[in-house]
Amino acid sequence: MADAKRNDAAKQQPESASRREFLHTCSLAGPLLLLTLQSTLLEAATGTEKGYQAREHRYGMGVDVSRCIGCGRCVDACKNENDVPREPYYFRTWVERYVINSAHETSVDSPNGGIDGFPGITTEKSILRTFFVPKLCNQCDDPPCVQVCPVGATFSTEDGVVLVDKDYCIGCRYCVQACPYGARFIDPRTRTADKCTFCYHRITRDLLPACVEVCPTGARVFGDVKQRASPLVQFNRFHKIHTLKPHMNTKPKVFYADLDEEVR
């Protein structure tokens, strides 16, 4: 019924008026279309969800060392989710095992990044303590990698994640040298720098990073340091927190609970 009325109204309008109207609509729609297209392209480029406001967030991760069982599922999930090369020289995240014996000697290993778990410990001396430590990019607030990149291909996002623009990276490897945590590598396929992004394509869609998602013991906690109700703020409230290499003054946003002094 309503459609029929609209059709009648259209018929009653002179042809010239409808053409004018059409052109008028076009003149308005053009810029609007461009704007929509631009924002869509922007969202596609950064992988963010529509309406996502980066400046309202500040992401970090908590790692509860005492909960990690060294199963390596996080390493595997990361390689799957982010298409990280499978060779044992490229990791966005890996797990280290520390064994401190009765003579206070420390040995560390991370066979293939811990992706298949760890072999049994073979040491003649008795073990004083042993534990696993998941590692990843610390998403520093003062990142040395961003400072040294000669072209600005590595940058900090407004929501506190350090990313690499692969179309811009010249492959000088200065960022790899500048990272105190060994968190960067050169992707042999693109020949550009690569690193953990906190699964930026997921977190901006309100999903958890893959490593957090699969951790069977909840050793990894992801959240927003800006929001009081976030699991990360809870985590930081109820644990004594350490960061890695604090003397580097890089202000990491990966917070470790129960971290041993042997961990570097």
Partner: protein, 408 residues
């Protein structure tokens, strides 16, 4: 990826998984070595121009051309090393002003355009005009073209050349310091790496650069003079050797200061760095850099050259002294190359976890290989040969022209 698999087997202790790949290899060793030679050769030239060390006059132009030949090659190892050389120009177009490396283009362009080319042009302008007047064929046109149309040979004009050249050299000295101090800063400012991170790094780089530059010009002077079957100017060579000795003393003192300072402070990294020096770097650091590259040349030059008492401590015939100077020069070049190696490669042979050591497998072929590295070290000498043909730096070329000018 087989080479990385091989490396993985030879890792000692624990290194972060991503550290298996060594990121700055032979080409990045060649780069500071070559840049150092530029700065060193230029500082030597400035001794003549600004500090009026008359004995060194025969080496003045040779030193300038040497600096130019090496400066032209300096960016090539960097470019070849980039994974995306086609994007290299982004450093000029959209530099990150917080990055030390982003400054390379500007420092380099300043040194090449403002300092070296201008100084050479002012120094050669008069000769270019005279050469083009008496030559025939392509040389005539080439030399005429290089005058850029400034063919005025009046006293006033020639005096201006001289004072402009002197002024540029005065600017050039801090620029040469900047050029190589900057290279040291690239490494010295990496706080993540305890082997590199040192405020002394730029200054150590600088003095080792001066040492290598003087030694290179000494070698080139002897070789070119012998090839041309001319008499070697012994007072000049003695003076070169003396300055080489002084620079080496300062360089050695700075290296020792750095060494003792690290040892005395004994920071967290001291354990792994000691292991590094006594195992992986023993040959290149203790033997090549320290003993053969520094101590032995210091002894030779200290005893034979007139550096210490105004005359040689040990009276030696000219031929023997010349031979010993050449030997010292070669040893120093090997030593300074080892110095660069020990900084660049040494700084990547230990893990930033400070718990393990890795190895460097140099390739023979390939862009980062021995062949390319060697070619980049030889290329400046080929360029220098071309420059020498184009702009003869020999004293007799000037003397001949002076006579011709008088006659006309």
């Amino acid at each position: 990826m087989e080479p990385l698999g091989e490396v993985l087997k030879q890792v000692q202790g624990y290194i972060y998984p991503n550290e298996v790949e060594l990121h700055w290899s032979l080409l990045i060793v060649v780069y500071p070595y070559v840049t150092g030679l530029v700065a060193g050769a230029f500082i030597l030239a400035s001794l003549v121009r600004v500090f009026n060390v008359k004995e060194l006059q025969p080496t003045y132009r040779l030193a300038l051309l040497t600096a130019l030949a090496y400066l032209i090659v300096a960016p090539l190892p960097l470019l070849a090393h980039l994974a995306h050389p086609e994007r290299a120009f982004e450093i000029f177009l959209t530099p990150n002003l917080h990055s030390a490396m982003a400054m390379f283009g500007f420092v380099y362009a300043w040194y090449l355009m403002v300092v070296l080319l201008l100084e050479i042009w002012f120094d050669y302008r008069k000769d270019l005009v005279l050469w083009s007047a008496e030559e025939k064929g392509w040389r005539r046109w080439l030399h005429w073209g290089l005058t850029l149309g400034a063919t005025d040979l009046s006293d006033k004009s020639v005096r201006f050349d001289s004072s402009a050249g002197r002024f540029i050299t005065i600017i050039g000295i801090p620029s040469a310091f900047l050029l190589h101090g900057y290279v040291g800063f690239i490494f010295g400012s990496v706080k993540a790496n305890p082997w590199w991170s040192s405020v002394l790094m730029p200054i150590v780089f600088l003095f080792s650069a001066i040492v290598s530059g003087i030694a290179l010009v000494l070698l080139l002077y002897v070789i070119t003079t012998l090839v041309r079957r001319k008499q070697i100017d012994m007072p000049c060579l003695d003076k070169l050797a003396s300055f080489l000795f002084y620079a080496l003393v300062v360089d050695f003192s700075l290296e020792m200061l750095d060494f003792i300072h690290r040892l005395y402070e004994a920071e967290e990294s001291i354990g792994i760095l000691s292991q590094l020096v006594t195992s992986r770097l023993f040959l290149s650091l203790v033997i090549l850099q320290a003993l053969l590259g520094t101590v032995l040349p210091l002894l030779i030059l200290g005893i034979v050259s007139p550096a210490l008492r105004g005359r040689s401590s040990l009276k030696t015939p000219d031929e023997l002294r010349r031979l010993l100077y050449v030997a010292a020069g070669v040893l120093i070049e090997v030593g300074i190359f080892s110095t660069r190696w020990n900084v660049v490669i040494g700084g990547q042979l230990f893990s930033k976890s400070l718990r393990g050591l890795t190895v460097y497998k140099m390739q023979l072929l390939g862009i980062e290989g021995l062949v390319v590295g060697g070619a980049l070290l030889l290329l400046p000498l080929v360029l220098l040969l071309g420059l020498i043909v184009l702009l003869p730096p020999w004293p007799e070329a000037e003397a001949h022209l002076a006579k011709a000018a008088e006659a006309s």
